[in-house]
């Protein structure tokens, strides 16, 4: 930038800030640290922070800020050139126990035992694809734009697939997931979860379970493919280093398996398209689809109303980190109930929900501060909304909207996705704040 800078960061982000500075070529950047958190402090409390010490160096904070701007540069701070990050040796040698410990201690696993990736096992894994081991598959980053993007080859993916316990026939699926460039572990403090959905012939070919217990630990490919995504995100994208490239405060148990599921395509109501066909693929193509979100409600409730009405009401009141997108995972019995009530496609059902669900008043005002000011100034329709008290505001939040400031779309699309899966043992369903991210061909990687 050409002028001296003193960046201020709260202490919770010490490792992240330092590694980020190093990754961007200034390992000695003069970062000054503040207590954490700062967000809710009063002005007086903030001023007291300035009069206090940097919690890392224990030196007076303002003196340190001024030093950061004025102290002459050291030789290290003037360095130029290129540096290659150290990723360790090409191979490791040890007993099975020693190596299990080594992979664990170096955060290369999900902290459960792995299959040790010997050259023989990796060679056998590579038979699962026609692609060259040296072919570059893509790039992964813990947060695109904020963290470095690592590149990786087919062989790298195969090594990680072995570690997760995969069979060679799963490799094209794992390659397709990694080729999307979407990490299973995202660096955000909000503890993102991911979901991966399989569609097409691949589900039966590798014996994915989409019947009873479709979301549980009841089939090898469901378990292993989801696990592989987390392991490869750590090793191929540098993701999942707590305090550095992973900041999720609570973390998410979903990250162990990333909700690896397949759609029950053979039980879809007549006229309902499989998810990949909705996204433009042909029915006989094998496809993975990636979703991003935080949480799921597993709803076991027998309503005195049709299920689509129950779900509409749930959508009105559902709230988590995400408030503008949802994915519904319907048992085939619930899907058939909706079909029996006249919903001849998933899209018709999504549109109904988007048009007819509302927003609780507290949530509306909490996420619409400018509208609150207008309501208080008597501007309609906000003033009328405010008169509704604690009720439901007729604001439909489940639509795809442009970035803030973009002109409104006259025909916005529903942001509600529908997937059908499960074993028909009861009329249950699950819903959550997952939004669709992208889909990728599995066949390309066979």
């Amino acid at each position: 930038m050409g002028f001296p800078t003193a960046p201020l960061v709260t202490i919770a982000f010490k490792d992240l800030a330092k590694s980020n500075a190093a990754n961007r070529g200034m390992p000695g950047e003069r970062i000054c640290f503040l207590p954490h958190p700062m967000t809710n402090k009063s002005d007086e409390q903030m001023y007291a922070v300035l009069e206090g010490n940097d919690p890392v160096t224990n030196k007076p904070l303002m003196a340190e800020i001024i030093d950061a701007l004025t102290k002459p540069l050291t030789a290290d701070e003037k360095k130029t050139g290129m540096v290659n990050p150290d990723i360790g040796p090409a191979t490791y040698v040890g007993t099975q126990d020693e190596l299990q410990r080594l992979y664990c201690d170096n955060n290369m696993t999900d902290f459960m035992p792995i299959i040790l990736p010997t050259a023989e096992k990796v060679e056998a894994m590579l038979k699962g694809t026609s692609h060259s081991p040296d072919e570059v598959v893509g790039k992964l980053s813990a947060a695109q734009g904020a963290q470095p993007s690592w590149s990786f080859t087919v062989k790298h993916v195969a090594i990680n697939a072995v570690m997760a316990g995969a069979s060679p026939e799963y490799l094209p699926v794992i390659l397709a997931i990694s080729a999307t460039g979407q990490p299973a572990l995202f660096s955000s403090t909000s503890s993102f979860s991911r979901m991966v959905l399989l569609n097409g012939p691949i589900s039966d070919q590798i014996k994915m379970n989409y019947g009873i217990g479709a979301m549980g630990p009841f089939a090898e490919p469901n378990a292993v493919i989801g696990r592989a995504w987390t392991i490869l995100s750590k090793n191929l994208g540098g993701c999942g280093r707590p305090g550095e490239t992973y900041m999720g405060s609570l973390g998410s148990n979903f990250n162990y398996n990333n909700l690896c599921i397949a759609e029950t395509e053979n039980k879809l109501p007549d006229g309902w398209k499989p998810f990949h066909v909705q996204k433009g693929f042909k029915p006989d193509e094998s496809v993975v689809s990636i979703f991003s979100g935080w949480s799921l409600n597993n709803v076991a409730w027998f309503p005195n109303m049709p299920y689509h009405e129950l779900i509409k009401n749930w959508l009105t009141h559902f709230f988590s980190f995400g408030t503008a997108a949802a994915t519904l995972l319907l048992d085939p019995t619930v899907a058939r109930d909706a079909k029996d009530h006249g919903y001849n496609s998933k899209e018709a059902l999504s549109d109904y929900w988007s048009k007819n669900s509302k927003t609780p008043a507290w949530l509306y005002w909490d996420t619409h501060r400018n509208e609150l000011k207008q309501a208080q100034a008597g501007v309609e329709p906000y003033a009328s909304y405010l008169k509704m008290g604690d009720g439901e505001i007729p604001f439909q939040r489940f639509y795809r909207r442009g970035r803030p400031g973009a002109p409104p779309d006259p025909n916005p699309k529903s942001s509600i996705e529908v997937v059908v899966l499960g074993g028909e043992t009861n009329t249950y369903w699950a819903g959550g704040d997952f939004s669709y991210v992208t889909s990728a061909s599995v066949d390309k990687w066979r």
Partner: protein, 134 residues
């Protein structure tokens, strides 16, 4: 001359035990040299991908003093950063009144560059204090 085969093998440096044909003897030998179960050494592959090389940048020359200089106080957009930077402005006005402070909100997400603002600071300022992460 009749040569004892056992003697001959010994002279050649080969153990006469091989003539015994006794599996028990051979097994005993194996047991003496076998690696205990679980102690065999295995070679495995590093599972890591390829992080990009890092270009090192020299830091900008420092000021000799902040006195009389213009310091831009830049918020990266996290909640409360604007109020905190205002308190820094208050601190300078009380403790180093010759320092001029200018507040700006950086455009874009917290990790986006704001070239327009950086150009403004380079043209009309001397230094930047940026705050903060949460």
């Amino acid at each position: 001359m009749k040569i004892n085969r056992r003697k001959l093998l010994s002279l050649l440096g080969v153990s006469p035990a091989i003539l015994a044909g006794s599996p028990a003897v051979a097994d005993d030998k194996k047991k003496k040299h076998a690696v205990p179960h679980g102690q065999e050494k295995v070679e495995t592959l590093n599972p890591k991908g390829l992080p990009p090389p890092i270009q090192l940048f020299p830091m900008a020359p420092r000021l000799d003093t902040v006195d009389g200089k213009t310091i831009f106080l830049v918020s990266d957009g996290f909640a409360g950063a604007d109020r905190f930077l205002n308190q820094i402005a208050v601190w300078f006005s009380k403790n180093k009144p010759s320092v001029k402070t200018v507040y700006r909100l950086k455009a874009g997400s917290y990790f986006d560059n704001d070239p327009k603002l950086m150009a403004e600071i380079k043209a009309s300022g001397n230094a930047m204090i940026m705050a903060y992460g949460h």
